[in-house]
Amino acid sequence: MIAESMYQELILEHYKHPQGRGLRDPFDAEVHHVNPTCGDEITLRVKVDEGKVLDVSYEGQGCSISQAAASVLHELATGSTVEESLGVVDEFTRLMQGRGQVEADEDVLGDAVAFAGVAKYPARVKCALLSWMAYKDAVVRSA
């Protein structure tokens, strides 16, 4: 079964038990991103203080990949510095856009490495990237 390479246990875990879901106050920026091809959407807020990410909160609807990606993002970004987290976003983006040919840097990506299988499905890459792009946007706007 090929599906197992995409629906890693970790992805399904995050999908079924999303971390940090729900919109919280206080926040510095809120963004709303949609994936027009499938209607997935996310509203995402960030709270940043002196270069540190205090909270990433979100609400959205969509497939397991987009929902799990938001949950993993929350875990990785919250508590890290803005700079570190943007480094993870860049590495995640590189992995997702690599058409399955890119070797993931596990040290940088942590749990997000579970999404490596998604990169082989061009139609699903946008699902995985939705919340991560929203996060990048929110961080820029919070500055």
């Binding site: 599906a3 499938c38 209607g39 997935d40 497939c63 397991s64 499905y121």
Partner: protein, 421 residues
């Protein structure tokens, strides 16, 4: 005798095994159908032995290509009961056929009153249209200041004709409606709408992209003014579609695209145009594709469209039964096989009642079982908005599908519910 096992042998791809030993279960013919050897061989043979440009090449190959291209027009005219072969216009797809008609309206070159459109005039479509039968009319409304109006859809997925007399009125210039919905499967009843259109002097077009492939369609019997359909959904190749229109209207319409072949004589400052159908076929057409579509309708005629329809009705009844037994599956569209084709859309929840996104449904069906369905809004976003859902999963059936494949789908959906349980 309709024998699905024999039919399947005509379609080489249907015996394909996908990686991991998954047999292909193709339930996405509403999106695009597979092609039989009869079509593939006809196209290959033409390319290998007869190909040249049509109309303008004065040599043996030119004559052979032109004959084959025009023979295809005859075959298609007969297939849809067109009173005249000249009324069959080759386009690149159904979308182009719909645009061709939409651009005839509100065009200052058009002198015929029926094609004049301006502020105060109205265009009527429905909420169950494919984007191809929405956007061209939106553009027409924007160009001319006319008003776009639409029929609503009932919860069962039928056209709501409750306000027919209000919607189609003396201001209406054209009503353009889908014959069979590509999401709901609903087959719309044309006659009440047509009767009202006639009463108020409006023209009527049918988007028959999903009906011509699946049932006998006779344009003379339908008695509408324009019909659009597309080759790739009816075992023909992509790149070729058809507009049928009444001769008298096609003659009154301005040309759509200008170029070679569509002219009679050209001066530096003006041109006169070729008679139909060539008036609407500017430039070198999709020659081999048209010939392939000719082979496709020959193939379908050989099998018999009544039998194709009957087979699909049996499959649709079976599928509505089998899928209807899956807990937490909701059909979007009629739940009975009455006035309904084999396009079956649905949403699915897991056994705890959480939605499973169609992308996840489609991915697991494909990856685990080799089942090809379509997921998303199927180019009918307004219809999905009407039902308050972002997307559906759609299984669409054709002459080569079997009840075994529907059983495979049902098993696959149970598995999906476990994965996302």
């Amino acid at each position: 005798m309709f024998d699905v096992d024999l039919i399947r042998k005509d379609f080489p791809v249907l015996s394909r095994e996908l990686s991991g030993g998954r047999p292909l279960v193709y339930l996405d013919s509403g999106n695009s159908s597979q092609k039989p050897l009869q079509v593939i061989d006809t196209m290959r043979d033409h390319l290998a032995h007869h190909y040249s440009n049509v109309g303008r090449a004065h040599h043996t190959l030119g004559a052979e290509s032109t004959a084959a291209y025009e023979d295809a027009r005859d075959l298609i005219a007969a297939f849809v009961g067109a009173p005249s072969r000249d009324e069959i216009i080759f386009t690149k797809n159904a979308s182009e056929a719909l645009n061709l008609v939409a651009y005839a309206f509100g065009n200052p070159i058009a002198t015929d009153e029926r094609f004049r459109v301006g502020p105060g005039d109205e265009i009527v479509i429905s909420e169950m249209e494919h984007h191809s039968n929405i956007v061209p009319w939106q553009l027409l409304a924007q160009r001319t200041g006319a008003t776009l109006r639409w029929f609503k859809v009932t919860d069962e997925g039928r056209l709501d004709l409750g306000d027919l007399d209000d919607l189609v009125n003396e201001r209406t210039k054209i009503v353009s409606i889908v014959h069979q919905s590509n999401v709901l499967g609903t087959i719309n009843s044309v006659s009440p709408i047509l009767a009202r259109a006639r009463e108020v002097g409006a023209l009527m077009m049918l988007d028959a992209s999903q009906s011509v492939p699946h049932m006998p369609v006779d344009v003379t019997e339908l008695d509408v003014d324009f019909v659009a359909f597309t080759g790739h959904k009816m075992v023909g190749p992509s790149g070729i579609g058809v507009l049928w229109g009444r001769r008298e209207l096609l003659e009154a319409m301005p040309p759509f695209l200008g170029g070679g072949e569509m002219i009679e004589a050209v001066w530096m400052d003006r041109s006169t145009y070729a008679p139909i159908p060539h008036k609407f076929e500017a430039g070198t057409p999709p020659i081999v594709e048209a010939i392939g579509l000719g082979a496709a309708v020959k193939y379908l005629t050989g099998i018999g469209m009544d039998d194709v329809k009957a087979h699909e009705k049996t499959l649709t009844e079976y599928a509505l039964g089998a899928l209807g037994e899956i807990p937490a599956l909701t059909f979007i569209g009629p739940r009975t096989a009455i006035s309904r084709g084999g396009t079956i859309s649905f949403t699915l929840k897991n056994l705890s009642g959480d939605d499973i996104h169609p992308h996840d449904v489609g991915q697991v069906l494909d990856d685990a079982f080799g089942i090809a369905v379509r997921v998303g809004h199927h180019c009918a976003r307004p219809l999905h908005l009407r039902f308050g859902i972002p997307a559906t999963t759609r299984a669409s059936l054709y002459l080569y599908n079997t009840t075994d494949e529907i059983d495979a789908l049902a098993r696959g959906l149970h598995h999906v519910q476990k994965v996302f349980g």
